[in-house]
Assembly symmetry: D2
Homo-oligomer: 359 residues x 4
């Protein structure tokens, strides 16, 4: 049991399956045997070299699995227990975490903040696209999975549900709100579901792929707009009688979606941004009402921790939302290069792929 | 009593004193005899033609005066009573006001939102740089002034205190926060005072004029930085041990101050923007942590209404803050063109001028 | 058109239909011809003399109707337009309203607060159980009804939806919360629907009437408990593994429901109270953790105003919630005494009755 | 170095100094050599047997000291470093902590909540009235003290500043608020200081001891009322023109102070409760407006953790508040029985005593 397979970053354009030692388990760690994981859009950025990580690092940050071994200080769990952990695995001891920003957890030996510091799997430590993953600060990060739920049902909790719902939460939605969501990829679809869960009564979603707009309706969208067919800014302003939306959620990471989100926003409204941008952003003066529109622009990074995961699992268990339609494909870990190929090119209507190391 | 003097916008570059009829008083109005008013930076934008208003409009939005005549529906006040009204005079009946955004009050015959719609004096209706001003929706906008306070003591309430404090309020300051305020003109100085009132324990202020930095210390600044002498971004990061500030308040309206505010912000921090911008704004990718820094950018327009004014007057009456140092000059209304000349060119250490129509 | 029928309070135990003059319309008023109204539990308190009102006052505070005549200052509406108004009709000019507490609107000639002051219909002015009602401060209180909705569909907006949803809003529900709602009368049922709209994933409701528990399931309840069959406190603690609920909503107004709500609450949880109490309340020391449990007890009075009504109408129009099952009976205004008889004694499975003055 | 002196609970009425082994240091612990500690009102409850703890437990929860030995997993600190820790020492890994309620931290092997579970020193583990204390979960709880500050200056941070400020924070104070604080013992005085730090412009404090009312003025009180001389409810309603206060802070733990706090509260206001009660509480119906007054009753338990301590130390370092007047007496640890005698009987104008194990 001393070696395992893991998908690692070799160089820009190459993620490959290699053999690696199974890591030793420190007192605050847990070793988890991965039963299901998945590929995220961020992983594709890593593959392309657009987001730099260390060569040889195991990629992936969405674990479902079984506790193989617990660190000596970790209490209240047992080996053999089925768990997930968030994509973001904070220490929860840091100044940032105690201040309410655990995703920006800066560890312990500095001032306590590190941008995106809570994101460790597949970023600063080995990730989940492997047979085993070492979960740091396991006491705060392991979330038990109830027996009645399948791996696929909880596979979205570690990242896209947490991120998408965070977008809706940051949008400060009130009952009766009109909300627009720009882009309906996996995270945008979760933001749509989140907006419905928070009480939005009119949810307008925008994408260019009809299949995604169809799924959006299942997630709670009331109105779907295909940007290939209409001027979405004009249409949303028309639909709201010129008033604009109470909140706009950006779920892609482009200047165009960011800007459209601002242009459809009522004075006093909130632009909740989830996208990972790769360029400077421009705020157009007129849409910003010269800074006098009581606008709020809020960015969110996926909340982690066992309490967040517990709540998301509760939502799945309640049947409030069914993300089953999001897992469109399944691969063995051995075939992960093919899975990346499919996912990176958005072929075959792929939304999320389930990766099974031991299937 | 049928005619009055008023400073009106003639054309770009010209504001002049003219004779105008004293307006008739509708059932929900109040006519106020101005005893003291002042000039705002926004008025200078109007003078220069940078912010368009109708030719012939009376300028000014900061009234202190005496109720001359009350509309038939206005109750609980009496003629001869000393009052102020906010620079922003909402209807309070609109959808926007009831939704919590009275500064974006859209009146009544539309969907209920109008960007900056609550700002009427010297913008969409005749303003306060005159012998008399008609206060609309007087029931919601007239705030009595206690006997013990001078005109000068409450002159800052209608606009700069309300705006500056709103910048501190929107910054979501917590006890023990480190806050940076960029620019220490009248509004920036009020933001500094507001940050102290909310419990910031380290307030770092930035300006290029030593006199203003001196006054900032009286307002609550702990550390003053002159941008002519230091690289303020580098210095603030140094002062915070690389952590950044909890909140940064922008009080000028330039790309450079906006950008510096973002660059010194901790992950999870709030950029509270008060400036009136005149160009598109650029959000630099790195400072924005690609949209993953849990940052918040919040803009605020001066809150108005009698309750807001009552609270600000309470602060003045409590002696918590003394804005006496801000009124550096006094002019008769007859000399308002000279006052504009001084104020627009920031001559003679001017901060705010008191304009006295009947002195 | 000078006289109308109205149900007035005669003396404890007697509400009767009498003829009254149709009131004159002041500049800020609107006269509304009632097409549908209903009876509230509070009206029964009035009938019984438990809540004192002036003899001769017209009762009722839930109007659906047609604008018959508009005051001269009311803009953006037209006569013949179909509207509702909230049970609570604030002035929106008062200090209390501007401070965020419009239900406690104190009018204008005092310090600005009056407990329950926003509740005027059938309390301090003539109410809605009549052929016509005069809506004060109509500019802020008239909410247009879209053509596609029936009177019955919007009849719950003025009071029970607004109250029940307010209970859920005040409970500070987060996605994934476990919420208990005590009592499933009309307001409790709306609180259940509100809890679902805010993202609660496990909603446990308590009542003693099976029919109401059945309807609660349609409104979003996941678990229903009949207090005649189980010890509800014990059962809820069991269901939550001893943790308690994140929020408990009290929707009746008794010591027993208030106390049970506290006993099932987690440390840090919120007790959101909607009931109208008629006795002092006791907070048990142990359930209150001696004041060290980070508990919150929050009371809410039905929010009013056209913006609130607009949002509730949006929820109805979206199909998110269907309150159709709540209107169990219909009466002509002529038969209102019989309607009171039925409603006060909770006969025949009554939940809400539709009263039709012109049917 | 294997034995130390410690003040332990023997039986009701007896706390005595005994010899105990210095505890071993686990991987996540730190051993701190106490240089200064103090006695809290809660300790007197323990002494009297009113709050039960295990016989032989070391009492005290307010540590200032030097790191003697660090656990193997604790990073970013060094032995010899001067630190404090909060009276409340959460694990920060628990569900409760991640949910925002670290004072109710339930540890790890249960559902995650335990009422007051974060309070461990002198409650569930050995406390600080000893030569050494073992700090659990040291990574999240040790807060470095800057060189320029004396022990006495930071001695109030672990408990009374954190508690008193929490009372002001929970009161949701806005700039310009009128706030009443009931009782001006050490925690009430800190609540007064906290109310000022949050922007209250009129702070009315109530006590029966003139010396405390004097100190209250230094802490920020604008108006002091001696309940032996005036009817404080009547007087506060008079001072506010019948409106009531925006927030009332209860800082004692009696029915009478709780009730008075409610009676002076405006509709919509917040009663922030800090007291440790020893009886059931009664909410009077009229003062509660039958549950329709939009009232909020919020209890708070002292927030802990290194981030909270860091912020409080910042406040001390800024000079915003000077709690120097609160330390009225000093004792060697050897004389702690005498210190309890003085403190429990409130003799000689005592507010807080500094206890020095090594002086």
């Amino acid at each position: 049991m001393s070696m395992m397979k893991a998908a690692v970053f070799i160089e820009p354009g190459r993620i490959e399956l290699v053999d690696k030692p199974i890591p030793p388990v420190g007192p605050n760690d847990a070793l988890v045997r991965i039963t299901t994981t998945t590929i995220c859009g961020t992983d594709v950025h890593i593959l392309k070299g657009e987001y730099p990580v260390a060569k040889g690092l195991t990629i992936g940050h969405e674990p479902v699995g079984i506790i193989e071994k617990l660190g000596s200080n970790v209490q209240g769990y047992h080996e053999g227990q089925r768990v997930i952990a968030g994509a973001i695995c904070p220490s929860f001891s840091s100044y940032a975490s105690q201040d309410g920003y655990s995703s920006q957890d800066g560890g312990c030996s500095c001032h306590g903040y590190k941008p995106m510091g809570g994101w460790r799997f597949g970023n600063s430590i080995d990730g989940t696209q492997a047979e085993y993953v070492l979960v740091p600060d396991a006491q705060g990060n392991l979330a038990p999975v109830p027996d009645g739920l399948t791996d696929e049902q909880v596979l979205m909790c570690p990242d896209i549900m947490s991120t998408g719902f965070a977008g809706a939460e940051a949008a400060n939605i009130k009952i009766g709100d009109v909300v627009a969501v720009f882009a309906q990829g996996p995270i945008g679809l979760c933001a749509t579901a989140g907006a419905k869960l928070r009480g939005a009564s009119t949810i307008i979603v925008v994408d260019g792929v009809e299949q995604r707009l169809q799924i959006a309706r299942q997630m709670g969208a009331d109105i779907t707009l295909n940007f290939n067919q209409v001027d979405v800014v004009e249409e949303i302003l028309h639909l709201t009688g010129g008033r604009g939306v109470d909140a706009a959620i950006e779920a892609l990471g482009l200047q165009s979606t960011f800007e459209s989100a601002l242009r459809v926003l009522k004075p006093g409204g909130t632009l909740s941004s989830l996208g990972v941008y790769s360029t400077d952003l421009v705020i157009p003066l007129a849409a910003f009402h010269a800074g006098l529109g009581d606008h709020k622009i809020i960015t969110s990074l996926c909340p982690g921790g066992k309490e967040r995961m517990r709540r998301l699992i509760n939502v799945v268990a309640s049947g409030r939302v069914d993300f089953g339609a999001l897992v469109t494909h399944q691969y063995a870990l051995d075939d992960i290069v093919a899975a990346y190929e499919l996912f990176a090119h958005q072929r075959d209507g792929v939304l999320k792929v389930a990766i099974k190391p031991f299937a």
